[in-house]
Amino acid sequence: MSGHGESFAELPVAPKPPLRRFHQARWDEPIIFELSRPGRRGIAVPQAEGPGVELPASVRREHAPKLPEMSQLHVLRHYLRLSQENLGFDLNIDVGQGTCTMKYSPKVNDLFAKATNPLHPHQHEDTVQGVLEIYWRMERMLAEISGMSRVSLQPGSGSAAIYANIAMIRAYHNANGGEHRDQVITTMFSHPSNAACAKTAGYEVITLMPDAEGLPDIEALKAAIGPRTAALMITNPEDTGVFNSRIKEFVDLVHSVGGLACYDQANANGILGITRARDVGFDLCHFNLHKTFSTPHSCGGPAAGACGVAPALEPFLPEPTVDRVEFDGNERFVLKYPEKSVGKIRPFLGVTPNVVRAYAWIMSLGAEGLRQVAETAVLNNNYLMHKILQIPGASVPWNSRHVEQARYSWQQLSEETGVHSEEIGTRAADFGVHYWTSHHPYLVPEPFTLEPTESYAKEDLDEYAAILAHVADEARRDPEFVKGAPYNQTIHKIDMTSLDDPKQWAPTWRAYVRKHLSGQG
């Protein structure tokens, strides 16, 4: 007889069930304003020694802002609880956010990022030689990876890099008598930011639709190009994960009418060291450092982008560039201002902490490592695709080869059960994973996009496929149950209808209080 009372379970512990019995933290946390109590403080501030400055009434704040008043522990605890109600990459098999290239961001690189904290961007060159050297070395490495002659690391994200590329395209044409070129050509399965950035920059956008094989219609390109063509902006492999093997013809066609070819390399992860932008003839390209080069996604930024250019575009690079000069046998890194620069794309040199992280990541891998990244990402994708296509009701349109990701369809399952792709995703998250459908328009019905980067183990891919298989089966047996998800997450199903009603929507707490708590409507 043990001092622990009656035995109710036996050793050995039974094997784990096939699927993880996940439940996310559910803290039922109030909104931070509800935690406030007048007079409390989270941090003290040094007081002014001298006499205070009297402000004129025209600029003096009249009413103190109604910020929460909380002690430090309670601020910390609130945010730590919220953090537990968030599913970071480090905690899940994050293959479900296709096109986003969710990969491991090594922890050691965060230490290097923090080392940039005290550096002020207006410090004299002599005092920041270390960080400038990192910029210069990073540029050289990306130039080698892309085949381009120079690379700007200034843009704050992939989309900002696309915008910077468009700015350079415009500057190039303006400097070469091509002011009349007002059309940008892109493809349906290129990232939608290509069309959006071109429009922001004032271009008319011509989008090539996929042909019956799912690839952009080259005959349509022939009909689209002409004296008004400023550039082709194209992703390859496209967001479907299919590599367009006629890409060189696309580039050559655009060149034949005096247009520039610009390569969106957001999907570069599967082709690092395999094929390069410049070798295909592209004039510009961009990378997302937070995708291919591992910097963390940070809930949606800060990210970082890089623009690579061929020699003809160098004079238009965003300013400043980091150049290496030698004198007296010493090297020195200096800021230079290209003669016809498009100017600033964002403040200062770039998102330095992420440039440093990405630099360290490449340094930890080298040429052979990058090739392993690409090959493993592609192997992982083809393996996962093999598993997913065994699930009844799942399919992949166009019987083509896939590189690093694939866009699938639940069309059959959805028609049979009435359960939509996003509902399957919400239910899948009950097992502790993310899932994403795709961008508009839904050329692929009931889509989902999986991108298993090199970071995942085979066991991870097996687990993810098993989760989707389970949910698909549930959809057949009990569609209402799937539609009622989530069950094991932070909160229950949300009624979103008020979010589109101006009388009800509450984009801030003060709007919520005014509309819903003060009784004034």
Binding site: S193, E204, H297, G418, T426
Partner: protein
Amino acid sequence: MFTVGFVVNPVAGLGGSAGLKGSDGTDVQREALARGARPRAGERAAQAVRTLLARRPGVRIATVPGPMGVEGAHELVRPPAPHHPEPGRIAGGVGLTTAEDTRAAVAALADVDLLLFAGGDGTARDVLDAVQELGEAAPPVLGIPAGVKVYSGCFAISPATAGFVAADFDGTTAEAEVVDLDEELYRRGEVSPRLYGSLRVPAARAALSGRKAGSSATAEGTVEGIAREVVATMRPGIRYVLGPGATTLAVGRELGLATTLLGVDVVERGGSGFGGVGGVVVGADVSEPELFELVRGERSALVLSVIGGQGFVLGRGNQQVSPRVLDAVRAGGGELIVLATQQKLATLNGRPLLADTGDEETDSKLSGHARVITGYRESTIYRICPASEEFQI
């Protein structure tokens, strides 16, 4: 109480399995039954009702007696006491129905909040007729796909989806086009869709998922955006021939003109200026000879939308745009401007747009790539080819 009306065309889909490419007309229905076809519309309708009841338990189902209602719906629905002669019995026999039966059933259910009908494009046309007779009093409708031909926009993509959409219906509606093929021609291998009008259907709320924080919230090209782009590129002094359809109707609206949904109209834009460019209708709902007179010797351009699910831009519902009209437009230096949202083109799955003017030489002259306006400052270049090439008989 939320009431959903419910009409089944019991013979919809009958012809399909019998290889008859449609089920319009009692002769065809008899032939199909003779060939051993089994009705499936009731089954598919029941599927939609099951989903509806599961998702919105308290809902009241109203229907009509007979094969268009209670029998079609199997054991799931018990109708109110009969208050109407049984539609569907009129034709007698084994529940074969006529268009008149469908219209009668719809009229009997005019006071519901939403009317579900199971059938195909032919059924949709009959429902459209009934709705037009009822006018303002007509309820919004939604099709349960059960026919051989389902090209109209008023159908849900599957019976289960119809059930879900009905259950979630909050009164918000949108217009959806009704198109149909001439079955007689279809049986001979000719696909000939025509636009018949539009029905009020539940506006399917955009899926709330898939909003990726990091990524472009690129709004899809809208019909209004397309219309603005067309108007922005219009030049004074050119006659624009607007084909039938909701998209070309929006072009008229953007110009401040009351053009027709089903007819071919000819317009010109006014001078430039802010606050709407304005324009004039040169000819409304014109016939082929009228159209020919309007474009002959004039500078003109063609603005056509894509009709039906197969991608027809010429020869279906716009036969007024005849070979000689096309020649006249071309002689005037005019271009062919096609309008379609990217989503509509997406449903073609890479198949080309089709031209079938009835004249092979004209069709082959059109063969190639056409500019398709998909939104404001947005277009695509899309393949267009003679229908005879695409549908080898």
